[in-house]
Symmetry: C2
Subunit: 323 residues, 2 copies
């Protein structure tokens, strides 16, 4: 089974080509303007062709392309239903695009879900009947498997919107319009405001605030900069309380923490574990809290398992189309 995975981020598009789930070749495209999906599409098409060539396989062998999208997705119709990034991707016909270019199948899903599938099938949640995942990055994504099944819900939102759970009903309005959402309290997009409000950090970014990100913050935290300790501990409290809400909600065996911010997992994971023991209903031995095993590859690997499921459902296996 030859498959391609494409993870549409806001800054980069990550790609990979896989043979029976093993990654043969990686790729990465810089996004110039995430409001211009039509302008990005030729680059993605070119990247798919490059990956096929690099794999040394014939393009006629390509079974499918899995696309992780930063927004809400109808994974039956393979259509984007709601997104702030790539707004012109709404209603784009991914099925026709893959069919016309490579006679290949397509699977479209929310990006946190595709990473979650990777971790569930071949990462920190492998073998779990109950798993939840939070991805901390520009925004906050989430994914849940309960009783052995990925949650879907009425509009493909179940388990997927934990970044927009209110953790502070007295808080300010989030970009999304809700009050005190987790990602409005602590995520890469909301970090600059936290930094600029802190008296100890403010002078460091007065000349150039483009240096602000969580890597920068956690480096200062390790140097015991007082403002960095304050802001980092506040953010970790937000993620810890979000983790507790996720645990109380979905009752997983394993809670997986992923996303770019977890590059500082050495600080973040122990902090969250401590909060969970302190405040949640569960004892430490009832819940594993793990940093994603697959790191950046979670969505690439997840795409393979997703396509396998989609193709199985299409009974392509039965008809002998799969290689």
């Amino acid at each position: 089974m030859l498959t391609i995975s494409i993870d549409l981020g806001g800054t980069y598009v990550k790609t990979g080509i896989l043979h029976h789930g093993s990654i043969l070749e990686h790729g990465r495209i810089k996004v110039k303007n995430n409001l211009d999906f039509d302008g990005l599409l030729p680059d993605i098409t070119k990247e798919v062709n490059r990956l096929i060539e690099a794999s040394g396989k014939s393009s006629t062998l390509l079974d499918g392309i899995a696309i992780a999208f930063p927004g809400l997705v109808d994974s039956d119709k393979m259509k984007v239903t709601m997104t702030h990034k790539y707004p012109t991707a709404v209603d784009f016909d991914f099925i026709a695009w893959a069919q016309d270019n490579w006679n290949a199948n397509v699977a479209l899903i929310n990006d946190a879900r595709m990473a979650g599938i990777g971790e569930w099938q071949a990462g920190a949640g492998e073998g779990a009947r109950h798993m939840a995942m939070i991805t901390l990055g520009t925004g906050i994504g989430s994914f849940a498997v309960v009783d052995g099944r990925r949650l879907r819900g009425n509009g493909y939102r179940a388990g997927n919107l934990f970044g927009h759970i209110s953790l502070d009903i007295n808080g300010e309005v989030c970009q999304c319009g809700n009050l005190g959402c987790a990602e409005s309290l602590a995520s890469s997009w909301s970090l600059p405001e936290l930094v600029k409000k802190d008296d100890d950090l403010k002078p460091l970014v007065a000349e150039d605030d483009s240096i602000i990100n969580f890597k920068w913050l956690f480096d200062l935290y390790r140097q015991k900069q007082p403002g960095a300790i304050r802001v980092a501990e506040y953010c970790m409290k937000v993620w810890g309380m979000l983790s507790i809400n996720m645990i109380h909600t979905f009752d997983p065996q394993v809670l997986v923490l992923g996303g770019g911010i977890l590059n500082s997992a050495d600080v973040i994971v122990p902090f969250i574990k401590k909060l969970v023991v302190q405040y949640s209903w569960l004892n430490a031995d009832e819940i594993e809290i793990e940093h994603a095993f697959l790191g950046e590859d979670a969505s690439i690997v997840g795409g393979y398992y997703l396509l396998k499921e989609v193709l199985t459902n299409k009974k392509c296996l039965a008809s002998g189309k799969l290689r």
Copy 2:
């Protein structure tokens, strides 16, 4: 199929005997001391015998007894695993109790879940593939059906602990030890403190604070008492934000609001609907918000459907034991 349902509340035990799901007779026992489960048990046993007699059926026809319990329950072993009310019920052998007394089967489940099953099978959520329910009373209970299945989770907690979702991570410690739980912000047990902190309400309860309950509060609200407006609107905001979190989490078609506080549904339901339209990601036409149809009978009816499921699983149907 002749079944009995028992709903163990902190103040009353509600009971009913049903023939193929139709209630033949109701009952209610006053709880003298909810810390004394052993003292209550003979009263429950007597009540079961009374119900059978009142139904005009032979006790040999009794197929099963469904028990709704205010705490966490292992519904495979039919054991209570955690509870603040009735602590001595932990590890009580309900199976032996029903077997020895009436040669009947038993089903034990969390109380919000049993009410939720009633509403799902024969109430406001009938026919829904995706339903969530919040019960507002002494505490806050919850229940969720996603993709046509009741959520269970690793320790029977999935969908069941929404009363202990943090809605204010800067808030005070709840009775349960978590920070800013929904039920610590607004439920019958936390209402007296809200009332006594309000300058307009405080004088009304100075002599006798036992008059404080939500019926009293909403009666004053309808009379436009300024303190009652303030406290009631705060509580409704808590429940509205909890509803939004529940909708964002489980993505239901129908959100059912039940429990004793919903006796003031005429005020509460429209208020919550307004908040959901204002702050949630869903449009008004994507989600129904309903007051529980079955009212006080939700758990009684739910017990019948639960027993039916338990008995089917035991293949009693196949062996011809059911009548």
